[in-house]
Each structure stands twice: as structure tokens, then as C-alpha cells.
């Protein structure tokens, strides 16, 4: 009888332990989706926007069939999450400026009669679009949702799906791979409203600048014309107090 009792006791104990283990495992499994996607996205933005007010230079090299075929240089001044001013520096674009205030964008052409208002579709033109250069704070433009964890090469990544908060965002949907260790961007896929996969990006290199780890090189792959890609290199990134009036669209004195 005592043998039966002890066997029953061991069985009950084992069942209890099994239940506890199961709950513990389920609890752990449930905690993964509870990952704060918004906080993760904000952390990832910090790798592209080191300060609340800063200036950086962006060199874009466009490649056709693997060969570099043109180079462009921009000076980007950014303040907060919604004000960006871009000065075009290459000889063929000199005198051109681009201003982005929230969802509103203007281009100032030296030879046109007025600042030209840019539609979201015009923002997408080009290998690296105006939006790729001027709009890098994804947390203010997109609502993130955690999708899954995935290994990209040797890197453990969290995968987020970003959905545009407004129609004025550069892309309507982004699938975003972030390094699981520190949330730095690793890879992205960009989609239009129609669902068309238009571009992909790999975030290739980071550097320590002014005590911060910042993106140094990004490659954009054209998913429509597969033989075309663009390399964006960031340099001379420096914090700078930028006056609000630099971002006033009616300002005629652009430099």
C-alpha cells in the first residue's frame, strides 16, 4: 500500500513539475512577442540620427550592372524628427535645395520660378530617392509591429513590420531587420501602397562618431531594375544648433 502511495505521490509530483515547466515555457514563449517594437524602432533610429540637431554629408554612388556610373553629394541638416534641409553639392545639381517639414516637401531649383511642392510619388523618383536622404526617423513616420526573430547570416535579428502612419510617408510598408543585440538596422525591404516591393537596403557599416555609433554606409537595391543599386556614404556628421528659420519654406536666402 505504501508503495502505491509513494508511486502516486511521485506521479503527482512529476505531473505538477511537468505542468509548472509547461507554464514556464509558455510564459517564456509568450514574453517574446511582448517585445516593445516602438522602443526598438526608436533605438534603431538613433543609429541614423545621432543628435536632435545635426549636419551630415551624404555621398551617393549609383551603380549600373555593378559599375559606378554617377556620384552625387548632399549636405543634410536635420532638426528633430520632422525637419530636414538638403543642399545639393554636385556641379550638375548646384543651387538646388530640398526642404522637408513633416509630410510636406519642397524643392528649390535655381532655374525655376518658384519653390516646387513635391508629391509623395515624386519623392520616390531616382535610385536613392529624396525620401531616402531626407527622411530617416522611422519611429515618427511608421507604426511598428514585431513579426519574428530571424538569423541573417551570423546576426540574430528582430524583424519588424512598419506601416506608414500617413499617406505622406515615403513608403507605405517596410520590413525591417534589427540586430537583436543593440537594435542597429541590418536590412530593410520597402513596399508601395500597391504592395509592390520597390527597394531593399542593407546597412553595411557603422562608425564611432562623437561618442555615438552611427551609420556610415547603406546600400539600396532597386527591386524593379535588378541591375541597379546605390551606395549612400555618410561623413562629417556633427551636432549643430540649427535655427528654425532654416526650415521655413518661404525663405529666399537659401545659403
Amino acid at each position: 500500500m505504501s508503495n502505491v502511495n509513494s508511486t502516486l505521490r511521485i506521479f503527482l509530483l512529476a505531473t505538477l513539475l511537468a505542468f509548472l515547466l509547461l507554464f514556464a515555457l509558455r510564459g517564456h514563449a509568450a514574453s517574446a512577442p511582448a517585445l516593445d517594437a516602438t522602443a526598438l524602432l526608436k533605438r534603431s533610429d538613433a543609429f541614423r540620427n545621432g543628435w536632435t540637431s545635426f549636419v551630415t554629408r551624404v555621398k551617393i554612388t549609383n551603380y549600373e550592372s555593378g559599375k559606378p556610373d554617377e556620384e552625387k553629394l548632399y549636405e543634410v541638416s536635420q532638426k528633430g524628427t520632422d525637419k530636414t534641409y538638403v543642399e545639393f553639392m554636385t556641379p550638375r545639381e548646384k543651387g538646388r535645395h530640398l526642404l522637408m517639414l513633416g509630410d510636406d516637401m519642397w524643392v528649390f531649383l535655381p532655374d525655376t520660378s518658384r519653390p516646387v511642392r513635391i508629391t509623395p510619388l515624386e519623392r520616390l523618383s531616382g535610385d536613392a530617392s529624396n525620401g531616402d536622404v531626407a527622411r530617416t526617423n522611422y519611429a515618427s513616420d511608421y507604426t511598428p509591429a514585431y513579426l519574428r526573430d530571424e538569423k541573417l547570416g551570423e546576426t540574430e535579428c528582430h524583424v519588424l513590420e512598419l506601416t506608414a502612419k500617413r499617406k505622406g510617408a515615403t513608403y507605405q510598408r517596410i520590413i525591417y531587420w534589427l540586430n537583436a543585440q543593440d537594435a542597429r538596422p541590418v536590412r530593410a525591404e520597402f513596399y508601395l501602397t500597391s504592395g509592390k516591393h520597390i527597394k531593399s537596403a542593407t546597412f553595411d557599416d557603422y562608425a564611432q562618431i562623437g561618442g555615438k555609433t552611427l551609420l556610415r554606409r547603406l546600400t539600396l537595391y532597386d527591386e524593379i531594375r535588378h541591375n541597379s543599386h546605390s551606395r549612400l556614404e555618410y561623413s562629417a556628421t556633427t551636432p549643430r544648433e540649427l535655427p528654425d528659420k532654416l526650415f521655413y519654406q518661404g525663405r529666399a536666402d537659401r545659403f
Binding site: V55, E64, D69, E70, E71, T90, P91, R92, K94, G95, L101, D103, D104, L109, P110, D111, T112, S113, R114, P115, V116, R117, I118, T119, P120, L121, E122, S125, G126, D127, K167, G168, L192, T193, S194, A207, Q208, I209, G210, G211, R225, S228, A236, T237, T238, P239, R240, L242, P243, D244, K245, L246, Y248, Q249, G250, R251, A252, D253, F255
Partner: protein
């Protein structure tokens, strides 16, 4: 033993410091400069000449531009044009397109000198751009960069989404042959819910006062709307829209109706003709990157028409880049209309401009 330990500690901490060092953020220079130089050779060939004029107009233009800025406080900018024109004779001349100094303090900007302002929102026409260079609907992009600024003093106040500008321009310093009035104007600009709206009021010397309202607004993914309403003796209205397709082709359309008063009247329109109605339609695409080998090409075509006398001009533009410094273009104008109509008064049936530009 302690000495060895201390030495090891120093070495390790030194190594840690070395590993921890990073690129410092670059220092901002107090002075910054910008410059550019454009050299243009433009030849215009006239076909079907109705008067005894040379068939070719050749222009060589040298256009240096420079700016010097001290911090975000003070700046000095200039833009000049040197031109040699060969038509009946060869004539050389130089012009100052812009030369001004600007000072910035707090929410205020002050400027004095010759400067191009762009208050009008119209692409091919404007009634509200009271201090703007004149619009040329057959060449709104000012192909040869010959537009000149007005001599003025200007003060701007900007805070948040509000901006107030006061400008006083004098015609005393305009070059000979130009009739420019003294103008005092004030503009209030507000960006609210995507509407970029301006109210303009002012007075030209020896003429009536004027008032205007302008707006631009982007709607959805592909549309931009713009418009102007101006009162100067009588009302002038401009309504325009821009539409971009997913393929990157942009259409711009404008309807413009100015009263037939001396301020708005084209020299080819009779003073007795009454209110005029104009239309402009442009379709264009920059960088034909979808076609292999055509990435460096830009093309556009326009029609400008006077609805009242049914005359029109067909305009075609093709531009091609060769690297970062050299480009070439063809600009074609074909005016049509019955005898005496506005656009038929050009003394040619076709004007084809071929040019090459060097940029530095």
C-alpha cells in the same frame, strides 16, 4: 610585485582608453563658401522668317555665382552674367543677376541688394509674384538663366509656421531700357495643415495698390494644387495642378485669366481685347531610367495657349547629361494662330535652340 601589477594596470587601462577612442565630431567652420560656374553656348535657328532677320542667333554666356557665409548670421552672395550675342551684330554685355548681403538675428532676417524673390505659386504664369522675375510660359525654367532680381531692402520675421516679410524695391538702379516701378509690399505666410498660404499687399509707385492670396497644397500621393488670386484694378486668377504618375511622368496644367490692363498686358495683345484667358499644359519626365541607356535624358513637352484668339505655342525640350559637368539640350518652339493673334506675332514659324552647358 606591486610595480609590475601597477605597470600592467596602466598598460591595460591605456589599451582600454585606446580602444574606447572614437572619431570626434568635426568642428564647424565659422566661414563657409559656395560657388558655381556655368558656361553656355546657345544657338537658335529660326525657320519661316516673316521679316528680314538673320536665321541664327548665337549666345555665349558665362555665369559665375558665389556665396560667403559667416556662421548662420551674415552672408554675401552674387550672381553675374557675361554674354556675347551674335545676331545682326555681335554685342557683349555683363549683367548683375543678384548681389546682396543678408544679416540674421533671432527671428529676423534682413537683406539689402539685388535679389530674386519668388512669391508667386504659378509655374508658367503669375499675378501675385509682384517682386518676382517675369514668367515666360514658353520657358518657365529660364533656360539661359537670364532672369534678374529687383533692387530692394527686405526684412523677414519667422516664428513657427508664421512668417512676415516686408520689402521695398526701387527702380532707380535698374539697368537702362528696363521700366521697373518702386514697389512696397508685405507678405504674411502660413503653413497650416499642408496649406502653404500667403497674403500679399502693397503698392507700386504711380499706380493703384494691390492685394493677393496664394496657396499650394499636396493632395494624396500624386496631386499638387496651387493658385493665386490678385486684385490690381481688377481681379486676376490662376489655378494650377500637378499630377505625377507611378512611372514618374509629371503633368502640370494651369489656367490663368488676367484683366487687360497695362500691368498684365502682353505687348502682342491689343488694349481693346478685353480680359484674356490662357492655358498651359506640360508633360515631362526627368531621367528616363526605366529605359536602358536613357538614364541621362530628360524630356518634356508643353502647349501654351491663348483661349481668346486661339493661338498657341508648342514647346519641346530634350536634355542630356554627359557626366557631372556637361549637358546639352534642344529647345523647340512652334507658334501657331491666325494673323494678328497673340502667339502668331512671332516673326518665325519655328525656333530651334541647341545648346551645350558646362557646369563647375
Amino acid at each position: 610585485m606591486i610595480r609590475v601589477f601597477a605597470a600592467a594596470l596602466i598598460l591595460v587601462s591605456g589599451a582600454c582608453v585606446a580602444i574606447g577612442q572614437d572619431d570626434p565630431a568635426p568642428e564647424q567652420s565659422a566661414f563657409s563658401t559656395r560657388y558655381s560656374l556655368a558656361v553656355i553656348d546657345d544657338a537658335t535657328f529660326y525657320g519661316g522668317l516673316s521679316s528680314p532677320l538673320p536665321k541664327v542667333l548665337n549666345q555665349v554666356l558665362v555665369e559665375p555665382t558665389f556665396s560667403l557665409k559667416y556662421r548662420d548670421r551674415w552672408s554675401f552672395s552674387g550672381s553675374l552674367v557675361g554674354a556675347e550675342t551674335t545676331f545682326n551684330d555681335t554685342v557683349a554685355h555683363a549683367r548683375v543677376k543678384e548681389i546682396y548681403t543678408a544679416f540674421s538675428a533671432g527671428d529676423f532676417d534682413f537683406m539689402a541688394g539685388r535679389k530674386m524673390l519668388r512669391w508667386g505659386t504659378g509655374y508658367a504664369f503669375t499675378s501675385a509674384g509682384v517682386l518676382d522675375p517675369p514668367r515666360e510660359p514658353t520657358d518657365p525654367g529660364d533656360r539661359l538663366n537670364l532672369n534678374e532680381g529687383r533692387d530692394m531692402v527686405k526684412a523677414d520675421w519667422m516664428r513657427g509656421q508664421h512668417a512676415l516679410t516686408f520689402a521695398w524695391s526701387t527702380g532707380e538702379l535698374a539697368r537702362k531700357g528696363m521700366t521697373v516701378p518702386d514697389t512696397a509690399a508685405i507678405r504674411y505666410n502660413l503653413l497650416l495643415r499642408g496649406f502653404d498660404t500667403s497674403l500679399i499687399a502693397g503698392n507700386d509707385s504711380g499706380s493703384d495698390a494691390f492685394g493677393a492670396i496664394t496657396f499650394t497644397r499636396v493632395v494624396g500621393q500624386a496631386w499638387e494644387l496651387h493658385g493665386e488670386g490678385t486684385w490690381r484694378e481688377k481681379g486676376a486668377i490662376l489655378l494650377g495642378a500637378k499630377y505625377t504618375t507611378t512611372a514618374g511622368i509629371t503633368f502640370i496644367g494651369e489656367f490663368y485669366t488676367p484683366p487687360n490692363i497695362p500691368y498684365y498686358r502682353s505687348i502682342t495683345v491689343s488694349p481693346s481685347a478685353g480680359r484674356q484667358h490662357y492655358g498651359f499644359l506640360n508633360a515631362g519626365k526627368t531621367r528616363l531610367r526605366e529605359l536602358p541607356g536613357w538614364k541621362e535624358w530628360d524630356v518634356s513637352g508643353s502647349v501654351v495657349t491663348n483661349f481668346d484668339d486661339r493661338s498657341y505655342v508648342i514647346v519641346g525640350d530634350v536634355n542630356r547629361w554627359f557626366g557631372n559637368h556637361l549637358s546639352s539640350y534642344v529647345h523647340l518652339e512652334i507658334p501657331r494662330g491666325h494673323r494678328g493673334s497673340e502667339y502668331s506675332r512671332a516673326p518665325y514659324t519655328t525656333a530651334t535652340s541647341v545648346g551645350i552647358r558646362f557646369h563647375l
